[in-house]
C-alpha cells in the first residue's frame, strides 16, 4: 500500500505525457509513411515501409529561407526583449510601492491581450508610419510587445531572489544605481535572464499571426507561414506536410533538449545557484 501511491503517480504522469506528446509522435511517424498508409484504417502505429522526403521537401519548399526568416525574427525578438525587459523587471522587483504595484498589474494585463486582437490596429498603425516597408522588423516589434511583459513578469521573480543588500553594498561601495544594476544584479540574474530569453526565442520561432499579416513579401515570410501556404485549402499530401512540420520543430526541440536542465533549474532554483 505504501508503495502504491508513487507507482500510481508515475503511471499517471507517463500516461498524461503520452497523451500530450502523441501529436508530435504522430507527426514524426507520418513523415515516414506513404500517402496511402496515412489514410489507412485502422491506422498503423509504426510506418510499414519507412521512407522519407526530408531533403526534397526542404529544397522544394525553400525551407532554408523560411527557417532563416523565423530565426532572424526570433533572434530579434529575444534580443529586444532582453534589452528592454531586464531594466523594468529589476525596477519592479526592487522598488515596491503603490505605483510599481500598478505598473506590474498593467504589465500582466498587456500580456493577456491576444495577438489576433492586436494585429489589426498594429497593421493600421505600422502602415501609417511606414514600418511595413521593413516587414520583419515590424513583426519583431509587434511580437516583442507581447513577449516583453512576459519577460518582465518572469524575470522580476528572478531579481526578487537577489538580496537587496547586494545592491546597497554596491551603492555604498561607490556605484551608481545603473552601475549596481549592470555590474551586480545582471550578472547574478544571468541564468534566469538567459533561460527566459531562450523560452521567448522558442515561442517567437513559432509566431504565426503577426508574420502572416505584416509580411507580404514571400521571400521574407517565416516557416509558420510557409507551412500554412503549403497546406493550402484542398491539400491531401499529408506526408509532405508532416515532413515539413518535423523539419520545422527539430531545431526548437534540439534547443530545448540541450538547455533542458538549465531551463528547469533557472525557473525553479533562481539566480544565485
Amino acid at each position: 500500500m505504501i508503495h502504491a501511491r508513487p507507482y500510481l503517480l508515475m503511471i499517471t504522469a507517463v500516461a498524461l505525457t503520452g497523451i500530450y506528446l502523441f501529436p508530435v509522435y504522430w507527426m514524426a511517424i507520418s513523415a515516414f509513411k506513404s500517402g496511402s498508409e496515412i489514410f489507412q484504417f485502422p491506422p498503423t502505429y509504426w510506418p510499414a515501409d519507412p521512407h522519407n522526403a526530408f531533403l526534397e521537401i526542404f529544397r522544394e519548399r525553400q525551407m532554408g529561407r523560411y527557417l532563416w526568416n523565423s530565426f532572424v525574427i526570433a533572434t530579434g525578438v529575444s534580443l529586444l526583449t532582453l534589452l528592454l525587459g531586464a531594466g523594468p523587471a529589476y525596477v519592479l522587483s526592487h522598488i515596491q510601492n503603490r505605483w510599481t504595484a500598478i505598473a506590474t498589474f498593467l504589465v500582466i494585463i498587456l500580456q493577456v491581450l491576444p495577438a489576433s486582437l492586436m494585429v489589426t490596429p498594429i497593421f493600421v498603425a505600422f502602415n501609417q508610419v511606414g514600418l511595413l516597408d521593413h516587414p520583419r522588423m515590424s513583426v519583431v516589434l509587434a511580437q516583442s510587445a507581447k513577449t516583453i511583459p512576459l519577460f518582465i513578469v518572469l524575470c522580476r521573480a528572478t531579481f526578487l531572489q537577489i538580496p537587496a543588500e547586494l545592491r546597497d553594498a554596491a551603492l555604498v561601495d561607490g556605484n551608481s544605481r545603473v552601475g549596481a544594476f549592470l555590474m551586480i544584479m545582471v550578472p547574478l540574474a544571468r541564468n534566469g535572464l538567459l533561460v527566459v530569453s531562450a523560452l521567448i526565442f522558442m515561442q517567437s520561432f513559432g509566431e504565426y499571426v503577426y508574420s502572416r499579416s505584416l509580411i507580404s513579401d514571400t521571400a521574407l515570410q517565416t516557416a509558420t507561414v510557409g507551412l500554412d501556404v503549403f497546406m493550402g485549402p484542398n491539400t491531401n499530401d499529408w506526408g509532405s506536410i508532416m515532413t515539413y512540420a518535423t523539419i520545422y520543430v527539430a531545431p526548437i526541440l534540439l534547443v530545448f533538449v540541450l538547455l533542458q536542465r538549465h531551463i528547469v533549474n533557472g525557473l525553479t532554483a533562481g539566480a544565485l545557484k
Binding site: P163, E165, L166, D168, A169, A170, L171, V172, D173, G174, N175, S176, R177, G179, I184, P187, L188, L272
Partner: protein, 362 residues
C-alpha cells in the same frame, strides 16, 4: 552648529514609511574618531537610522551633515562612508580579491595601488590565503572578515556596521568584538555600530545611543547609562540580567518607598509623599546577608527563594518579596533551596526611582 570635532550631525531627523514613523525627531552629534553604538530592541529604528546616514534612504524631514556638509540628498557614493552589512552582502560572482577591490575598481584606481591596498587590507584581517576563493567557499567568520576588508580598503571617513556579528557563533562573536574595536582605534575613523546586543554596545562603544520605537531614549557613555539610566526602558535594557522593577508609593517622610506588600526601599533624594513610583534595583546590587551588621547606607529585605538558576560561576535566584519577584545574582554556588527564607541587603545609593507613569528617572 557643527564644530571641528563633530563628524556626523543629525538634527530633527524624521523618517516615515507611509503612515509608519520609523524615526522621530532624532538629534545626534557623533564626534570625530569615536565609536558610537546604536542599540535597541528589533524594530526600534537603529538600522533605519544607519541606512539613512549611509544614504540608502532619504529623511522625511530634518538634516544630516557629514563634515559639515548637508548630505540629505547625496547618494551613498558622495558620502565617503563604508558599510558592513549583517548578511555581509558579498558579491557571490566575484572572488574575495574582487570583492575587496570592487570600490577601487569603480573609481578606476590604477592597478598597482589596488594591489597594494588589497594586500594591506587582506593582511589586516588575515585573509591573505583566501583571495582567490569565492564567498560560497568561505565560513561565516571568513565572510565577515571579507566584509571588513571591503570597508577598510576604502579608507573611509566613517565606518557603518549593521549588526555585523549577529550571524557568528558566540565564541567568535566575543573575539571579533575586540578585533573590531582594535581596528577602529588603529584606523582612527569614526564608527557607527548597530546592534541589538547591549553587551556588545557596552563593551565596544565610546558612546551608546539607546533607541526605542524610532526615538532616542538616552545618549551617553556605557557606564553612564548603567549608573544613571534616564528612564525605566534604558534601566531595563542595559545590564544583564535585567534590572528589577517594583511598583511602590513614597512614604510620609519622602525618603523611602513602600510596595503594596510592605517592603521598604529607602533612597537618598527626597520626593513628594504619596507619589506613585517604580523602584529599580539591579540584580548584582542585591546580596545575601546573614544577620550580621550592615554598613552605613545599606538596608535589608526579607524574601523567599522561588527559583534558582546555576550558571557555574554565578547563580541567579528569583526571590519573592510579597507579590513581587526580584532576580538576584550571587557569586559561586550558595546553598539555597526554593522556599527558603532569606535576608537580602542593598545599598541605598543603588536604588533607582522612576516616575510610575512616564518612567523617567527621578
Amino acid at each position: 552648529m557643527t564644530s571641528q570635532h563633530t563628524q556626523i550631525s543629525i538634527a530633527g531627523l524624521d523618517r516615515s514609511f507611509g503612515s509608519f514613523k520609523a524615526l522621530h525627531n532624532i538629534n545626534l552629534d557623533i564626534p570625530r574618531g569615536k565609536f558610537v553604538a546604536l542599540v535597541g530592541p528589533s524594530g526600534c529604528g537603529k538600522s533605519t537610522l544607519l541606512r539613512t546616514i549611509a544614504g540608502l534612504g532619504k529623511p522625511s524631514s530634518g538634516t544630516i551633515r557629514i563634515d559639515g556638509n548637508l548630505v540629505n540628498d547625496a547618494p551613498p557614493r558622495e558620502r565617503d562612508v563604508a558599510m558592513v552589512f549583517q548578511s555581509y552582502a558579498l558579491y557571490p560572482h566575484m572572488t574575495v580579491a574582487k570583492n575587496i577591490t570592487y570600490s577601487l575598481r569603480i573609481k578606476r584606481v590604477d592597478r598597482a595601488t589596488i594591489q597594494a591596498k588589497l594586500a594591506e587590507a587582506a593582511r589586516i584581517v588575515g585573509l591573505e590565503d583566501l583571495l582567490q576563493r569565492y564567498p560560497k567557499e568561505l565560513s561565516g567568520g571568513q565572510r565577515q572578515r571579507v566584509a571588513m576588508a571591503r570597508a577598510i580598503v576604502r579608507n573611509p571617513a566613517v565606518f557603518l556596521f549593521d549588526e555585523p556579528l549577529s550571524n557568528l557563533d558566540a565564541a567568535l562573536r566575543v573575539r571579533m568584538r575586540s578585533q573590531i574595536r582594535d581596528l577602529h582605534d588603529r584606523l582612527g575613523a569614526t564608527s557607527v555600530y548597530v546592534t541589538h546586543d547591549q553587551i556588545e554596545a557596552m563593551t565596544m562603544a565610546d558612546i551608546v545611543v539607546v533607541m526605542r520605537n524610532g526615538v532616542v531614549e538616552q545618549i551617553g557613555a556605557p557606564l553612564e547609562l548603567y549608573d544613571r539610566p534616564a528612564n525605566t526602558f534604558v534601566g531595563g535594557f542595559i545590564g544583564s540580567p535585567a534590572m528589577n522593577f517594583l511598583s511602590a508609593k513614597v512614604d510620609q517622610l519622602g525618603t523611602a518607598a513602600t510596595t503594596r506588600t510592605g517592603a521598604n526601599f529607602p533612597f537618598s533624594k527626597p520626593l513628594d509623599a504619596g507619589r506613585a513610583v517604580k523602584i529599580g534595583l539591579r540584580p548584582e546590587h542585591l546580596s545575601l546577608t546573614h544577620g550580621a551588621e550592615r554598613d552605613n547606607g545599606e538596608f535589608e529585605l526579607e524574601a523567599t527563594v522561588a527559583a534558582l538558576e546555576a550558571t557555574g560561576n554565578a547563580t541567579y535566584a528569583d526571590c519573592r518579596i510579597g507579590s513581587d519577584v526580584l532576580t538576584i545574582v550571587l557569586h559561586g554556588r550558595p546553598s539555597l533551596r526554593p522556599g527558603q527564607k532569606i535576608k537580602l541587603r542593598a545599598a541605598q545609593c543603588d536604588v533607582h526611582v522612576f516616575d510610575e507613569k512616564s518612567g523617567a528617572h527621578l
